[in-house]
């Protein structure tokens, strides 16, 4: 078991190195990406100033400006994780499936899921974490008080859970691509649905609240970590989120394995 783990670790470092070399080869791209990343962060924050600015007292019901900034900070963090570590590999595996080159991956002597999930990283997206740190700093200045240590730990735990849930949905999308042809734009769908996570949960009411909590758990991903940072997260929410994320990961792995068994290569 520990041997397999060591091998996975070595594999990960090789793949990361390859991605780093690719990034170094296209230096102009790297700079352009950094600039564009900055634009996207500004585009994420700007609507907030419109919603909270202006003469009349407006804003998301139940959430002050600083509190909403915390949600946006969590959103930018997770967006960086998606764009940097999850989506690039997703696009590459969808390409493999369409062209039939997935066969070569399956032939390699390691778990195929590990191989396809670590295929490609966009390292420049780490800049998003810096943007998020700035947004968090602004938020706590606005709130006039810092988070408690417990709150930070809870928030970190929730962000890890969120990453796991995002990864599980990614795995489900890839499994779909085994059945439906030419769905390479599913990665766009993935990121555009995640866009809904940039606002506090109180925005979603009625049936949307249920969907975004239980079906597509966006509420768990950004609103709960923000509440943890504010020190008002009940332990039961953390427990339920952990159970949910674990169950989701299990289902995703099972679906992946079963669709892999049905994979017949291109033209099969």
């Amino acid at each position: 078991m520990s041997g397999a783990l060591r091998r996975t670790g070595a594999l990960l470092s090789v793949q990361l190195k390859a991605s780093a070399m690719l990034a170094l080869a296209y230096r102009l791209d790297f700079v352009l990406d950094l600039v564009i990343g900055l634009f996207w962060t500004v585009a994420a924050v700007l609507p907030l100033f419109v919603v909270y600015g202006g003469p009349a007292s407006r804003g998301v019901p139940g959430w002050s400006f600083g509190e909403t900034l915390l949600v946006v900070g969590c959103f930018i963090t997770l967006q960086a994780v998606i764009d940097g570590a999850i989506s690039p590999s997703l696009s590459s595996v969808l390409d493999h499936v369409r062209k039939g080159t997935l066969d070569f991956v399956l032939l390699k002597p390691h778990d195929a899921q590990v191989l396809v999930s670590t295929a490609r990283f966009h390292l420049w997206r780490a800049a998003g974490l810096v943007h998020a740190a700035i947004v968090f700093a602004l938020a706590f200045r606005e709130l006039g008080q810092g988070p408690s240590l417990l709150g930070v730990l809870q928030a970190l735990a929730l962000l890890v859970l969120a990453t796991s849930m995002l990864y599980s949905s990614w795995l489900l999308i890839v499994s779909v691509s085994f059945y439906a042809v030419k769905v390479d734009n599913l990665s766009t769908l993935f990121t555009s649905i995640f866009d809904a996570a940039r606002w506090p949960a109180s925005v979603f009411r009625g049936v949307f609240r249920l969907i975004f909590t239980f079906v597509i758990p966006l509420v768990v991903m950004t609103t709960l970590p923000a509440e943890a940072l504010l020190g008002r997260l009940p332990w039961s929410s953390l427990g339920a989120s952990t159970l949910g994320a674990a169950a989701f990961a299990g289902v995703a792995r099972a679906v992946w394995l079963s669709s892999l068994r049905r994979y017949t290569s291109a033209g099969g």
């Binding site: 102009l28 407006r58 769908l189 979603f204």
Partner: protein
């Protein structure tokens, strides 16, 4: 010559759209942003109607109307030639198109336009819902509705020409699609996609009037929701036409220059 080929090109394009209908539906479904913004703004407006910077009052219903119109317009003015051109330049398959006795841009334009009927069909339920449930959010001025198809066509032309210009960049730059990302980031802010332009402070609204983004999305939506008086609308449509002409000239020049550099694969 080109004109005679148009019906056939459109028919081929339509067949393609019908063949890849799942892909198209996924693209339509990816347009979730207006719906998310709709939920956000209605949750705010339900507490109290929101005052726009222009002095107009926005109720929950007018936000629903606005963002459903945004959704519809976004579907109707879609163009993606930049990706196709970039792909064909990199793969060298553009050479095949250049051999044909038909301007490649006409082929790209028709293949993009041919998706329109199916896209319109997908947005039809939204349009019907809008008409039945939120008719008061729509414009009652028939003159604006006369301008509406014109503004949609102008918006599509601008989007298409920007696509061609960015696609033509790929003749000389490897990463031209990054420019498209930049366009989108600016589009999100300045086109009324996330926030109705009415909520911008006056100076920012003035800036947006001089950028192309308003004419790609906000203008048709403003015509649909009747938030712009007819006289002002005429001026805006004229300005949109100027943008379309200017970008058309620019993109054609860039295209011609680029093609003369093009050496097919490995050039």
């Amino acid at each position: 010559m080109s004109l005679r080929a148009l019906p056939t090109l459109l028919k081929v394009g339509f067949a393609e759209a019908a063949a890849y209908r799942t892909e198209m539906v996924v693209w339509v479904l990816s347009t979730t942003m207006p719906l998310v913004m709709m939920l956000l703004w209605t949750s705010i407006a339900d507490v109290a109607p929101v005052e726009g910077q222009g002095g107009a009052s926005w109720s929950s219903g007018s936000f629903v109307g606005y963002f459903l119109c945004v959704f519809i317009v976004r579907q109707l003015v879609a163009a993606w030639a930049a990706w196709e051109i970039n792909f064909e330049v990199r793969q060298g398959t553009l050479a095949m198109r250049l051999l044909k006795p038909l301007h490649p841009l006409i082929a790209f334009a028709t293949s993009n336009l041919a998706y329109l009927p199916l896209r319109a069909l997908v947005t039809l339920p939204v349009a019907v819902f809008l008409f039945v449930a939120h008719r008061d959010a729509l414009s009652g001025d028939w003159r604006l509705w006369l301008l509406f198809p014109l503004s949609i066509f102008g918006a599509w032309l601008i989007t298409f020409f920007v696509n061609v210009a960015v696609g033509a960049l790929s003749f000389s730059v490897d990463s031209s699609l990054r420019v498209m990302d930049l366009w989108f980031a600016l589009f999100f802010v300045f086109s009324g996609y996330l926030v109705p332009l009415d909520f911008f402070p006056p100076w920012l609204r003035e800036v947006s009037a001089w950028l192309p983004f308003r004419y790609v999305l906000s203008l048709p939506v403003e015509l649909m929701t009747g938030r712009v008086p007819f006289d002002a609308a005429l001026g805006l449509v004229a300005r949109q036409a100027l943008f379309a002409l200017g970008l058309g000239a620019l993109s054609l020049t860039m295209w011609t220059r680029g093609v003369s550099r093009f050496q097919a694969f490995g050039g």
